[in-house]
């Protein structure tokens, strides 16, 4: 009953106090729940993107004695299967073709037998480059090896049998060759290191006519797989989707009773996606958690502002016989009320934010996850309310007298954390963790090329977290130290604002240093949170753009088909398309480095840096411009990948021989290059090994200046619009791709997540916290000192005199908070980018600085402080009489 009376009184007489704490709780809950909403959407995106990238979901391979027809029927009947087609796999002893008067022969290869509807059923598995999409199709690299084009004839070697001959109808690319030629049922380590070099695709009737006879004598060389497409209407959470797909695959294997094994391609990508999702959860929480902590600290500061009054009330209640237990109970009731109101408001805000920013108000990809986020966020809100209201009340009730509690000013000793050097310890620990992370090459995310396994070093997150905490406390220490020891300097600084009162104001600020230091540190922490989040997110967006550009090559890219022999002069024609700013021709050849076939790019060294927007991060051992200069100075120079340089023990200047196909004789010939540096990335290049050389030298050595791709920069027009214009010029034989489309399909499931929504939310909260902390702390700080200002007024202080106090303190908090925040924010941003290098693909050459946002942040903080100070001054004068009556 007393609790209810107390609560009623509290709400009637001091609603602002409870509402202020509830607002702090609401901010924390809203931020956390918003992150939950974002994750919910992100996880669904990850699942959708992962599933989208898989053309063949299951490859079911028949085991010895199984009948393909039975297998097909069983797969079609399996749960969730939308379509299934049989695909024949046969091993050939080699392929041969005679073109241009020469005969080319390859080593062993694989010949596939595919039904006519295969390409339509599994879009993305086969990409037509030249000729028709039906009939006899030859893989791009095989076509290059055999120098064949549509219309040429290929001889297929069959073990122990006469060779078969087929006429080529088209050249294709097999983008998912790794999974297509997987060893079904074998563990990751036993999979082939690379897909076969020589691949031919035959219509199923031709394939059966060619290889059924072989199957009777050499059954080990011929096998059938059933390729299946599943219903992609999967649970949003990658983990749940993985369980669902894996469960169905196991069910099918049980049904097949050993007659077939399921190669679960969809399950494999969902497995990677669920690990990425877990990582994303940690990453986004990590980026957002400082905001929630900040909201908690602000709530604590707000609650502390009313501490004196709370203590007086406690003293009165104690005088009336209230026990400590009763006092703590009443404070707990207040905390629970604030937590409940704040929690509900926070969840409502998060729901609205989710709808506005991410298009979903759900807090989790599954009901369980949603419940976890809601309960988790509410618990955090409750803890904040208890820590800021109930715990101080309990501490006061147990340990403090009213008289001691009122002594807010004085020659207070340093707080315990300062005496223990907690800030220094945090900063040192942060440096150590950062150094240890650096020793591992910042391998927070371990995703080696070609391996789907992923692991996360959560420990590395401690580095930035400790820096944030340590820097906040250290800023407080410095602010405190400057006010206590730097009074003469402060006096000089304040003279323009305070005039003759500068000494008095400096003294007053020195005595108020605890509150001012706290306000300054909170403003700095808000700025650090806002700046580091903004810089990280801007860099993330920048790199995702770079990733898309690297994959696509340019705004618009025309990829010429092998054997197309398009000269560089065709660039002039492309340049005439509306919206085209520049066109850069790049040669593309396949070259043998020993037994290894690699991509070789011939570039124009004087224009490729700008045209390809080459970044320094793409190269090792020099800048983009520097290495292109090296190439220019040495016509036979070549840049190779680090892996190649290591494998062949190359030193700068070493001779490096490649086998390149001569355009005139169609025969491979040895061409001498000299190693001048290393390249890590290049537009359109694969992520593993490739080489870059002078286009003029390559043309001279091979007798052909045929262009592999044209990199087109647009003059501000939409790349997809320009691409449409370019398509009308180049016709159907050369694929034209644009940046916008690439951006939607590149990247792993993690990097494909668009952070824009989260960025908006986090930066929005950061602005509110930064502006709010600055204004709120000043207003509350001055409100606590109404009496002092009333005294000054009674002594004859004019508005300008009171302004000297208000503007000096406001200026100190604003300038100090912004400076410290900017400095630490810069350090933390760089640390975050280094630590989270694994998130970026490719690694950024430099952090992207969102100047517009940072400018707005600074302006908002200054505006908030100016408005707060002006409001305080107006209220001081308005309330002077009321305050004086209490003197």
């Amino acid at each position: 009953m007393p609790a209810m009376i107390w609560l009623r009184g509290l709400l009637r007489r001091r609603p602002g106090r409870t509402l202020a704490v509830a607002a702090g709780v609401a901010a924390s809950v809203a931020l956390l729940a918003s992150i939950g909403a974002f994750l919910s959407v992100s996880k669904s995106t990850m699942t959708r993107r992962a599933a989208q990238g898989v053309p063949v979901d299951w490859q079911v391979e028949g085991q010895a004695g199984s009948k393909p027809a039975d297998l097909l029927a069983a797969v079609k009947a399996a749960s969730g299967v939308q379509a299934a087609l049989p695909v024949g796999f046969a091993s050939t002893t080699g392929l041969e073709a005679t073109t241009g008067g020469t005969t080319q022969t390859t080593g062993p290869g694989v010949v596939l037998g595919i039904p006519a509807s295969y390409a339509a059923t599994f879009p993305g598995e086969i990409r037509n480059l030249v000729g028709t999409p039906q009939g006899v199709l030859v893989a791009q690299q095989t076509a290059a090896n055999l120098h064949v084009k549509p219309g040429d004839t290929i001889t297929i070697g069959r073990a122990g049998m006469r060779a078969a001959r087929v006429r080529v109808d088209g050249v294709v690319e097999l983008p998912k060759a790794d999974s297509l030629f997987q060893k079904v049922g074998a563990p990751v380590g036993s999979q082939p290191s690379a897909p076969p070099d020589n691949v031919l695709l035959l219509p199923d009737a031709t394939w059966h006519a060619t290889f059924d006879p072989l199957a009777t004598t050499r059954a080990d060389l011929v096998r059938t797989q059933i390729h299946a497409r599943l219903d992609h209407n999967l649970p949003g959470d990658p983990s749940a989707a993985f369980s669902s797909v894996t469960g169905r695959a196991r069910n099918l294997e049980v049904t097949l009773a050993g007659s077939g094994l399921v190669g679960n391609n969809l399950g494999a990508v969902l497995d990677a996606a669920r690990k990425d999702a877990l990582y994303a959860q940690v990453l986004f929480l990590f980026l957002g958690l400082p905001g929630a902590v900040l909201a908690g600290l602000l709530t604590a500061a707000v609650a502390a502002a009313g501490a004196d009054r709370r203590r007086q009330e406690q003293a009165i209640l104690r005088a009336r016989g209230a026990t400590n237990r009763r006092l703590v109970g009443l404070a707990t009731v207040e905390a629970v009320l604030a937590a409940t109101v704040g929690g509900i408001a926070g969840l409502a805000i998060a729901w609205l934010v989710g709808h506005a920013a991410f298009g979903s108000g759900s807090f989790g990809a599954t009901p369980g996850a949603a419940a976890t986020w809601i309960v988790g966020a509410a618990i955090v809100g409750f803890v904040i309310a208890v820590l800021t209201v109930a715990v101080p009340a309990w501490r006061d009730a147990r340990h403090q007298t009213v008289a001691a509690g009122r002594a807010a000013i004085g020659r207070a000793t340093s707080p315990r954390w300062q005496r223990w050097g907690l800030d220094i310890i945090c900063l040192a620990a942060s440096a150590v963790v950062y150094w240890l992370t650096g020793r591992n090459g910042y391998q927070l995310v371990l995703v080696p090329e070609g391996v789907s396994a992923i692991s996360v070093s959560y420990w590395a997150f401690a580095g930035p977290a400790l820096l944030w905490v340590g820097a906040g406390l250290f800023t407080w220490r410095l602010a405190d130290l400057f006010l206590s020891r730097g009074r003469p300097i402060m006096r000089r600084i304040l003279r323009p604002i305070a005039g003759d009162l500068s000494s008095t104001v400096a003294s007053s600020m020195s005595r108020e240093r605890r509150a001012l230091g706290r306000a300054l540190a909170l403003v700095a922490l808000s700025v650090i949170f806002a700046a580091s989040t903004a810089v990280f997110n801007a860099t993330y967006q920048q790199q995702s753009g770079v990733d898309a550009r690297l994959t696509n090559g340019a705004d618009v890219t025309v990829t010429e088909s092998p054997g197309a022999n398009v000269p560089p002069s065709f660039a002039t024609k492309l340049a005439s398309v509306k919206g085209v700013k520049s066109v850069e021709p790049v040669q593309h050849r396949f070259a043998y480095v020993g037994a290894d076939l690699q991509d070789l790019y011939g570039v124009r060294t004087d224009s490729i840096v700008n045209a390809g927007r080459l970044q320094n991060a793409y190269f090792q051992g020099g800048t983009a411009k520097g290495l292109m200069k090296e190439l220019s100075a040495r016509p036979d120079g070549i840049l190779v990948s680090a892996e190649t340089a290591k494998d062949f023990q190359l030193k700068l200047g070493d001779e490096f021989r490649l086998r390149l196909v001569d355009g005139r004789t169609k025969q491979a010939r040895s061409v001498v290059f000299h190693y001048v540096g290393q390249a890590k990335e290049f537009p359109t290049a694969p992520k593993d090994s490739f080489m870059i050389a002078n286009s003029s030298y390559v043309a001279k050595a091979t007798g052909s200046d045929a262009v592999g791709a044209f990199l087109i920069e647009t003059s501000g027009s939409s790349p997809s619009t320009v691409a449409a214009g370019v398509r009308s010029v180049v016709g159907p034989n050369a694929p034209v791709t644009d940046l916008q489309t690439s951006r939607r399909v590149v990247g792993s499931s993690l990097t494909a997540v668009d952070l824009a929504g989260l960025t908006k939310v986090e930066l929005g909260f950061a602005l509110v916290f930064a502006g709010g902390s600055a204004a709120l702390l000043l207003v509350l700080g001055f409100a606590e000192r109404r009496r002092s200002f009333a005294i000054a007024g009674a002594l004859g202080a004019r508005r300008r005199h009171l302004g000297a106090f208000v503007w000096s303190e406001s200026g100190y908090v604003a300038v100090g908070g912004l400076l410290a925040g900017a400095l630490v924010g810069w350090v933390l941003s760089n640390m975050l980018i280094k630590v989270l290098t694994g998130v970026f693909d490719p690694a950024p050459a430099a952090a992207a600085v969102p100047w517009a946002y940072l400018g707005s942040l600074t302006a908002l903080i200054l505006a908030a402080i100016v408005i707060a100070a002006a409001t305080v001054l107006r209220r001081i004068r308005r309330q002077a009489l009321t305050s004086m009556r209490g003197l």
């Binding site: 000013i409 003759d500 003294s507 000192r785 005294i791 009674a794 004859g796 202080a797 004019r798 003197l887």
Partner: protein, 232 residues
């Protein structure tokens, strides 16, 4: 009448009402009085009789809702503070974030006296009241009596013509209270200022030649030398 003989403050039919409507509280009602130079007035009355409100009005800290107040020997309201009018409050009135010397320095600094002069005046005032050893003490480190004497010293540095004290001994024991009253009277004598002290204590009231009594917002005269006039 020469300026020397002009009263320091004159009230004519002054009233001060707080709030409006049925909840309105009339704190001061129809007060007419004048405080001559060198006056020594004890303002007595029960709690809530309007003593503090009248002192605030006399100090120019508050505005009457009816009637007029003028300060003939000083000038207009804008010239009252800092300087000619000083007030010592009942409760702790030192700025907690400033030490004793800085608190006492404040009025001359606000008056634009400059830092060096202000410090000199403040130190002299504190020495005069025997507080020289407490120059750098913080208000919370002082006893109630010491804090009130510092407040008196602060009133002294502006060389006021009118010194007002609102129950300055209300929170002090008898001995400390006597020291504060001594300090106030000595200061007023030293400066030749008019002194008005509101008090409950008959002993303090007895020490001053003129006594005014407030009752329900009205001022009743109880004067022995007829230098002050209070009318209902």
């Amino acid at each position: 009448m020469s300026n020397d003989q002009q009263p320091v403050v004159v009230c004519e039919a002054v009233a001060r009402t707080f709030g409006a409507g049925p909840a309105a509280v009339v704190a001061v009602h129809g007060v007419s009085c004048r405080v001559p130079q060198n006056a020594r007035i004890a303002l007595t009355g029960t709690s809530g009789s309007g003593k503090s409100t009248l002192l605030h009005l006399l100090a120019g800290l508050d505005f009457p809702t009816a009637g007029t107040i003028t300060w003939p020997a000083i000038g207009d309201r804008g010239a009252l503070r800092p300087g000619p009018v000083a007030i010592v409050f009942q409760g702790p009135s030192l700025m907690p974030s400033l030490d004793v010397l800085e608190n006492v320095c404040l009025p001359p600094l606000l008056a634009g006296a400059g830092e060096a002069v202000s410090l000199q005046e403040a130190e002299a005032a504190l020495e005069r009241l025997g507080l020289g050893r407490l120059l750098h003490a913080l208000p919370e480190e002082l006893s109630g009596g010491q804090a009130q004497r510092v407040a008196v010293a602060r009133a002294l540095v502006g060389a006021p013509q009118l010194l007002l004290a609102d129950e300055p001994t209300g929170q002090l024991d008898h001995v400390a209270g006597a020291l504060v009253i001594d300090a106030l009277v000595d200061t007023a004598d030293h400066l030749g200022a008019a002194l008005v002290i509101s008090t409950h204590d008959p002993e303090i009231a007895e020490r001053l030649p003129t006594r005014w009594c407030m009752s329900d917002g009205r001022l009743l005269t109880e004067s022995r030398d007829q230098v002050a006039v209070g009318t209902a």
